[in-house]
């Protein structure tokens, strides 16, 4: 029997129909299996890239229905970490296939309530700002530190909030470069602005110190990554258009993003809006300017700071390593800090289980994926984990808090900033 797809697709005019060529690129070789955290955690090929692609193929072949609860389970359980993409010799665009599958499933089954609530909140800037302000107040009481040890979802959420407390002192400094590297806007982000505001400031300062001219761009909103990953492609497009319009208003050389997930999304605005004739070109033009903040810093050197004698380890965010395929830039940022010891982390290419709002929607699997990450971190003996994505910082930070491992997480740019600030205070 030949595994053939008939000339007609069982799901015409759906996002999945457009993804058929990508699905057909999979040769079923299995090279992605060991790269997949959910396969390693659950030991079921239905929770592997190859298995999920076969489920997708069955959907377009019509042998499985779009309302099949098993299909939903295994597609829901995918982290969207795209570790499978960097393992795949055939070039299967897994991230796009997943988004298309989720968007198609969303036609038959509404998103879970928690997901809808979160996504709608991220679309309302004022509501989101108020909620994050509330979270900051709660964080200031230091209660989340205590509550974070409670079992269950609430305990974990509290630990995530506690994990956003600053781990390195941020003291402003005046060091500035020439600005000759071009006008650069920093994406404010949602969680970054709400809970990691210091890291945003640090990003601006370090960019300035490395010859970028930092400009402020008003009118930004959520990048839409959470929406796209959940299958709400229309929601993602709405947000993308707002941001494209906002960034177009200034003459920019670069848009610097310090959250790997947001950067990955914005680099794909061109793809997201490819079939929108009014926006396709504009989206591609904005995407072309997007850089991870560490890319810009690495391109500029970056300038060296003062000694920071710490032992840390670095964990690569999936949306930096697998989606943006950036390996060197964050390491170059850390490498510019004298006396900083970077202890290599085993399996840094494996996801930590944060995956956007996955840890809230699939807490059990997320926990299974986090466990080996924490064990590997603990084996390094390092007190701090540097990782350039708020979701990963919160997830790993929460796990460290709950297992009493080390001090927590920082953004690599936090460390560079601290090193620059020291240089100004005690010039060496």
């Amino acid at each position: 029997m030949t595994a053939a797809v008939g000339p007609t697709c069982a799901l015409p005019d759906t996002p999945l129909a457009a993804a058929v060529p990508g699905i057909m690129t999979c040769v079923h070789c299995g090279f992605c299996l060991q790269a997949c955290p959910t396969y390693l955690a659950l030991g079921d090929e239905n929770d592997s890239p190859r298995g999920r692609i076969l489920l997708m193929r069955s959907l377009v072949e019509g042998t499985l229905g779009i309302d099949d609860p098993d299909v939903h389970t295994h597609i829901d359980q995918c982290l969207g970490c795209r570790g499978c993409e960097t393992a795949c010799p055939s070039g299967v665009p897994y991230g796009h296939l997943l988004e298309a599958t989720r968007a198609t499933i969303a036609l038959a089954r509404p998103l879970p309530l928690v997901a809808r609530l979160i996504l709608r909140t991220f679309e309302r800037p004022h509501l989101l700002a108020a909620m994050l302000a509330g979270a900051r107040l709660l964080r200031a009481t230091r209660l989340p530190r205590l509550l974070g040890r409670l079992p269950g979802r609430l305990g974990f959420a509290m630990a995530m909030l506690a994990a956003t407390e600053g781990r390195v002192p941020h003291r402003p400094y005046t060091r500035r470069g020439t600005g000759a590297r071009g006008a650069t806007a920093v994406l404010r982000g949602c969680v970054m602005r709400g809970l990691y505001a210091e890291t945003n400031r640090a990003t601006e300062r370090t960019l300035r110190a490395n010859d970028y001219e930092v400009v402020d761009v008003a009118g930004q909103q959520c990048c839409g990554a959470l929406h796209a990953h959940a299958g709400d492609l229309e929601g993602a497009r709405r947000l993308a258009r707002v941001n494209i319009a906002a960034f177009e208003r200034s003459a920019l050389s670069f848009i610097a993003v310090n959250a790997a997930g947001c950067g990955a999304m914005m680099k794909e605005y061109g793809h997201l809006l490819a079939s929108d004739p009014l926006w396709a070109e504009r989206a591609a033009a904005v995407s072309a300017k997007v850089r991870d903040a560490t890319e810009l810093l690495a391109d500029a050197g970056p300038a060296r700071g003062a000694s920071l004698p710490l032992a840390i380890t670095y964990d690569a965010p999936c949306h930096l390593l697998h989606a943006q395929r950036l390996v060197r830039p964050p390491l170059a940022v850390l490498g510019a800090i004298p006396d900083l010891e970077i202890v290599p982390l085993t399996d840094t290419d494996q996801c930590c289980g944060a995956a956007g709002i996955y840890n809230l929607l699939e807490p059990e699997v997320s926990g299974l994926v986090l466990t080996p990450k924490l064990a590997n971190i603990s084996a390094t003996g390092a007190e701090l984990v540097a990782t350039g994505n708020p979701g990963c910082q919160m997830q790993i930070g929460a796990g460290m808090l709950r297992t009493r491992t080390g001090r927590g997480t920082v953004h690599p740019i936090d460390l560079l900033d601290a090193s620059y600030s020291r240089a100004e205070r005690s010039p060496t």
Binding site: T2, T14, H28, F31, G43, S48, G65, I66, D68, P89
Partner: protein, 496 residues
Amino acid sequence: MAMAALPISEAASVALSPALERAASRLASIVGPRAILSRPSELVTYSADGLPFYRKRPALAVFPETREQLIAVVRALAEERVPFVPRGAGTGLSGGALAENDAVVIGLNRLRRIISIDPENRRAVVEPGAVNAGLTRAASEYGLHYAPDPSSQTACTIGGNVAENAGGPHCLKYGVTLNHVIALTVILPDGELVSLGSTEGERDGYDLLGAFVGSEGCFGVAVDVTVRLVKNPESVRTLLADYTAIVDAARAVSAIIASGVVPAAMEMMDGPTIRAVEASIYAAGYPVDADAVLLVELDGLAAGLEEDVALVERLCREAGARSVRVARDEAERARLWQGRKKAFGAMGRISPDLVVQDAVVPRTRLPDVLAEIHRIAQETGVLVCNVFHAGDGNLHPNIAYDARNPEATARVHHAMRAIMNACIAAGGTITGEHGVGLDKLDYMPLVFTDDTLDAMCRLRDVFDPERRANPGKVVPVRSCREWRMAPNTRRGELPA
């Protein structure tokens, strides 16, 4: 879009036979309800292996997590007389891990621990689902590695390697899986636990370990495997020779072997393969305008290695190489190898479907056979990509095509058969390392006499008199099962 326009799944369960019903509930009580799959929608994934050309949906799939669970699972199936099929990573390329709808897949991927590494005696004991490359990674701490390195090593399991007697590029010098397995614990289909081979040197009597290695899941399930580890070589040099005519590359292979040098590996890739690899994330810097490249690796003691390198380089040039490049450092060497090892996957970008053949021909006949394959490709109008273990004459012609086109599919079948016949006519055989499984059943009578096949059946009966372990694979017994399973025989047409 309206929901009504989307197709809705049919009632998602099929009736199981009473024996299977009983087996299902017994297995669930052994492994727990989350380690057994019984709904058809969840079994779709287990309906294909590395050769998705075949799809067969099993009745159940079960995933023991401990040795005790595995033993209990096999015993329960024995008592219920239910057939089963072991499955490792499902990277097999002959349909070996597929099960009919009356059989149970025993997934071994959760039994993946490396039980022990004994650096002094250069040995390791692993569970069957341990991944090949993971073993080498663990052994590297001691300056050791597991030598058999199938291109699928980042995914395939040691149990699957044992069952297929897997080879790999470096098996040219170091030998295949059989040469590296010291002892095995096996659970026989009737539930008896036996030890094969010995960790204390040769055991008296027949070599039953040798019989089990390569038995393709038909003789029972490997429960643990004791393997030999090899010391990492002191020095390694990797050469890439580039040819504008593939036959020249084939002549270089013969010349190198004739010179007495034993390369650690000698691999060839033809033009279409090179171009697929260079378009992938594993681009290795192969010359995209070449008709073939030859990848030769020499290893051993540093003293004397440079002379061998110089000799091989000269022989490559004498055979007509346009250029010969020696990898400057470990990074470049790793890149050259990655390209080779991911070549099969990289071909996925050419066309949606892919079939791969696995035949061995006498090395001296390589130039003729390659020319013949080229002719067949031209005649049938299919795209053949050749990537293979040239050093031991193990060919892997891959054909990329679109299975949605029945006319193209028919031409591919024709080409595959013609290529296989050409290899057999050149004095070759039908599988080097991927096994017979389901895919090569038809070819068995072309290379073995009835008497030999009958002897194989009798050997199988020693291990599995009820023929419940991986039924219908490897040896065509002309029972109704074979008739049903292989698509060609089913239509009653024996291979031409």
